[in-house]
Symmetry: C3
Subunit: 471 residues, 3 copies
């Protein structure tokens, strides 16, 4: 007999009643506010085609590297979980068998945000009444599978039920945005907008760079044989994205280094790349230069610029070769912002037409670099705790290290940044609870008073994200 | 109608009664102890001339980069706040208008130490009864303005009322200390002492280096045309500072790198600087060498040596060019101590005549480098959390990361390090509350007992700073 | 009259009853479990010879650099404490006088883990009833001295009383393990096993490298005049250690850099070292290569590999020259894992025959690098907080920063890592209390439930260490 799954109404709040009661009051103010999801990785096709999600394994395990990386770390192969290989060779195709492994090992997630998000989804999205375990795994599989077939669990129905006001996807520069356009032309009112992420063409060392550049040329109708034309093509695509609802760009760079190259230098490096002979150093300088260019374009077209640096992608080469990117083996590295961002902030950081949102995987920079930078430069705002740091203790550390120097008004609310669609309400709910608890602690220590806190909790849950991303 | 401003007697203490009651008892032991302020940036002229402070904007906004950097980060120009430009060109001169902007935006400081210090000043220094806001701004401006005209609010009267036992200013090597001398020769008993800060002559790349060197030569009567004479002139000024009450020196260096140059090398680099041709690398090595020399002099004259490294000064070049230094755009960088301080600590770190107090803006070094170093070298003590870290959570993190390795007796109590004179009692009161709460947490967990805590809270508030700075 | 020494039953638990009561319940589940000590620095001779420990100073001060480094930091000389010099020149030989200094300064340890461990030893190992101070020092000295003479306080009796299931020592590659063998051949059942630590021969810059290599050659019977023979000799010793109960190896390297050299390169560098002409860079690359080789051997013989990087050994050269190594002047440095471990993890990190346990002195890497690495690579587990971080707040920070990304099942329970034998029960008890409190906080916030917590607390205290080290 499996144990009952019950979510306590006061979960994630401190047990001290002087904090918990305040946290609860604050949370109730924001609990039902609409969700603004300004950065994430869901598939626009889901909402365009509105097909049922096939089964729990495909919905909850296969797209979610948070889930399968933990299982892999305990010796479970990705093959056994049904993660598709890059070359299409056979893996486990029995979804029930993969789910059983998940159930057998669900205790690994105790104390992790993934565990908390999954429990929320089981209980509140799918109405499951027992804890996932080896014993209950098949019952829960069947229960969710059945629900997924019903109209209420189709993508659009869930979107509406989750009370999502805006959902942002992430799309390459060369995307045709066909699903976004089709959604906008449909009778459905859901607001799904793209985000312009040109890494595949701005990173000259990207394995698919030539193909990506060719695709960019095709969709823009601009022959990208010179640097100048390449810039034109990017401006063309930004305008296209903007006309399809985009409000932001995103840049996943290894280092946040920024540096302006002369037009001649940029052209020279670009030509070397075209001929396949660019050095790693020149490619890095070109990326640094492209951040400057993207900032310039943002001052002109108003798209909000996001930088996500500091991940050593595909650290496990064998996993990358067999399964491809985003398979749970990206590992953070130490990241420097003070010197690296100086050229960009010196040129655009006080420009009222510009907004830059910075993320980090390196918590040591919260109080040392990021809060001081955001507490000075008007254009700079701090994104929420990212990836591994998007957790109960991680979000709390972010607020504790950032607020005293930068206040809350130089931060931008919450991003879920997820590929796991049904986790969106779980993630936003958890963030709202954690921020409520953070503010309640300040109230309990008389650092702020309740009238401040009521304004601040709403800002953190809704107002700031709306302002920051102009949605 | 603005809200009432009330400071809770238990502010900054944990709400759990088992902690709060102990914290309160500990705090009451130190609440009224005299203030020793061994490091700061107030103007000695204020206490010499004892003129009334002109108005709230000039007193509380214009000198305080903590205040105007936050306003700047939200798009308010420094001009609008009346911050004077370097070339004297026009800025807002209507002090009331600048104050109104401050009031309109006071919510930005919610949850920041600046907010807590300002509320303390409003309530307890100026007797203001309502919270600052756009609505109350002009009333509060008038109320403070009126008070500032009364004798009780002149600098010396406030100094006495604040119960300051010693107040240390920071003064360049070439200072004549005329205000300090005049204060000492006056009938007023306030103890205002200088601190010897020779950065302007030891940093060969300082923009005013030649002028500073010339001034040093003038005041010392020693022609500084050779390195040997330069050293003589510095020793001369240290003796002069000491005879005027100084107990310490201060060194604001980019890196805490220490390295001894041969006399020949030092002379060679000094001559290159005189001729305007020193490289950045040689200047950095010269600074590293001067830290060694300053340590040597400290072993001889007993002045306590302070090092404040790790700030990238004037990060925003446009603001620096228009407004000058110390305008809220200094940003911390990662700082290394273990290797950098080794030459200095190897030579002087176990010398009983020497005391070195180290500060940091890089919290990652608290437990990794600084506490282990201070828990070994007899000459080394850790300064309190500095600048952005001088906050409720910041001070708590310092104690939590340092105490287990270095104890409290390798730390030196509190520094306010401020240019904002009326914030001094607020800052010391906050520090005493935070330390009381830190100790109360240890008591509540039976890590220390109450008899330990009573000794420790007094050490943190008064005894350690007195011993560390020999005052 | 000295104060009474009393250990509160709820020590180290949060005062909030909602946490404390749960912590207490969890702690009671593990309080009396046997101690597994898989990594430490006690002397096997103690348990082989079973002589009485001579006196409190020799037992509790002289071997414990945690104790004397703090006293040194406050200006007390190592000579006065009786720490033996490297050349055998005279130091204080009056053990009572050294103990009196310790008593006079015991307040320095307030709030430190050393203070907590010592109080536990005084109260629960030796039955002392008063707090150590200058007043009580001699009485306590006499009381402990008397006890040490009784049979109940001989090493084997204490071992049994401490309920130690396995105690691991640390032994150089060239050790004959004579004490371990003699213990195994004795009638006593205590399980004391060696750990293979070959730093003295794998670090080509080790001051005793030639002598160590010669000794390795002697004990293995393999002439180590080529790199290939050197590898054979190491494999020979690993087999020998394993046959004497070893389950693990340990590698104390400055950097965790790993890099595979070709056999030719390795041979070349080894020959240079034999001829006394190896460069620092080549020696570092050889160490990096030896980590790869050790990992390879572990996949073959199953010994668990431990890496302890990031300590700048013997930072105070004068102390090292006079007193030798391990005298409290090793200082941590920033350490990088993501890039440095990639070659090793790429080759062996997913090999089911391999287990690597990583330690750090750089807390900034917990959430940034180590938890993400351990949350992916199956072979990699995280060792407990090491050295300066093995403390109440330090262990809590470790759990808070690691658990959300890696869970608890990628960690390996507790290591005491001590030279101070009677501190072993104190250290394990403190760790069990801290882990109980950590879990109780999660329970109090409904992040985990009590049924999870009961399994987890036992895992942290006993199961994980047993699995990780195959004991």
């Amino acid at each position: 007999m499996a144990e009952t799954l019950q979510l306590d109404d006061n979960r994630f709040f401190d047990s001290d009643p002087a904090i918990r009661n305040v946290a609860r009051d604050l949370y109730e103010e924001v609990r039902n506010l609409a969700i603004i999801s300004p950065h994430g990785h869901t598939e626009p096709a889901w909402f365009n085609e509105n097909h049922p999600f096939p089964d729990p394994t495909e919905l909850l395990i296969i797209p979610d590297h948070y889930v399968f990386r933990m299982l892999y770390s305990q010796g479970i192969t990705l093959e056994a979980l049904g993660i598709p290989t890059a070359d299409g060779s056979t893996v486990e195709t029995d979804r029930r068998r993969s789910w059983q492994i998940f159930g057998d090992n669900f205790h690994l997630f105790a104390g992790t945000p993934t565990g908390a998000w999954l429990s929320h989804q089981f209980a509140l999205v799918f109405g499951v009444k027992e804890k996932l375990s080896g014993v209950s795994a098949m019952r829960i599989y069947d229960e969710i599978t059945e629900k997924l077939q019903s109209p209420e669990f189709r993508p659009r129905a869930l979107f509406d039920r989750f009370n999502i006001e805006v959902l942002t996807t992430t799309d390459p520069a060369e995307s045709t945005l066909e699903h976004h356009q089709s959604i906008r032309n449909s009778s459905w009112n859901g607001n799904v907008v793209p985000c312009f992420r040109p890494d595949g063409v701005t990173d000259l060392n990207h394995p698919q760079w030539h193909a990506n550049l060719h695709a960019l040329s095709e969709v823009s109708g601009i022959e990208t044989s010179t640097y100048a034309d390449f810039i034109d093509a990017l401006e063309n695509r930004r305008a296209f994205f903007k006309s399809n609802g985009a409000v932001s760009t995103d840049h996943g760079v290894f280092s946040p280094h920024t540096e302006e190259l002369s037009r001649q230098e940029a052209e020279k490096v670009f030509q070397q790349a075209l001929q396949g002979g660019v050095t790693r150093e020149d490619a890095a300088r070109f990326t640094a230069h492209m951040l400057m260019e993207m900032a310039r374009m943002s001052t002109e077209d108003g798209l909000v610029m996001q930088i996500h640096p500091g991940s050593f992608r595909d650290h496990n080469e064998a996993v990358f070769n067999r399964f491809g990117a985003d398979k749970g083996c990206d590992i953070p590295v130490q990241t420097e912002y003070t010197r690296n961002l100086r050229p960009l902030l010196g040129k655009y950081g006080s420009d009222s037409r510009f907004r830059l949102i910075i993320f980090t995987l390196d918590e040591a920079t919260y109080s040392r670099e990021l809060a001081p930078l955001a507490g000075h430069y008007p254009a700079l705002k701090l994104g929420p705790p990212w990836w591994f740091n998007d957790s109960i203790a991680g979000m709390t550390r972010f607020r504790e290290r950032v607020t005293e120097t930068a206040g809350i008004y130089n931060t931008v609310g919450f991003n879920d940044d997820t590929r796991a669609f049904p986790s969106i309400p779980a993630r936003h709910d958890l963030a709202r609870r954690v921020d409520s608890n953070f503010l309640a602690r300040l109230v309990s220590r008389h650092i702020i008073d309740m009238s401040d806190a009521l304004i601040m909790v709403r800002a953190l849950a809704y107002d700031l994200v709306k302002q920051a991303y102009n949605v």
